[in-house]
Subunit: 128 residues, 2 copies
Amino acid sequence: MSLDLDFDKSDGLVTAVIQDYGSNRVLMVGFMNREAFAKTLETGYATFYSRSRRKLWLKGASSGHRLVVKRISTDCDRDAVLVEVEALGPGVCHEGYQSCFFRQLDNGDWKVSEERTYDPGAVYGEKA
Amino acid sequence: MSLDLDFDKSDGLVTAVIQDYGSNRVLMVGFMNREAFAKTLETGYATFYSRSRRKLWLKGASSGHRLVVKRISTDCDRDAVLVEVEALGPGVCHEGYQSCFFRQLDNGDWKVSEERTYDPGAVYGEKA
């Protein structure tokens, strides 16, 4: 069995679910192409392919909030990976939250369900 | 804030990460179009859009292993949902495992890291 994943089903990408290795909280979802997956293995830091910017994206390159890979699993179709990480820093979401999934469905509306863990303006500057 | 998700980024689909509400284990990743998401809300059972079969897919329709929705969150971009579920039955994977993520990266190879929880042949018949 090789390390091959099915990159063909989604235009060269596999879905990457990022889960906290300690708490099991799902932190974010991203996409990896072959190169991003290889970089992730090579460096030990989660690296994605940004669909909007069309380039590799080392998570935490600007914020310092890198994701240290602890374990990687793949699914039955091999078109998704589950990456368990130790998250460096207070949060993975560029909006200042621990997880990108900070809004819950509540009475027919999305409601912010937790406090920010850091100030995105201080980390990312004015663009945040 | 409406219930709108960003279905435009991925050809009418959002990524749906399915997580066990009790154990926090990630069970599978699927995709939902508007109709699948609406059905999920309406019925309380996770419903996907099958990209290979190009139609709605009530998870567990044939096996009985439905996914009872307990909580739904969305991410900062609103192009993914995290669906926490109570999984009915011994497993969500059509290959007989509790989770579709039953293979871990181990010394440069994918290795099955757990035992099957049911016999897929008995549940799905010869096609499994």
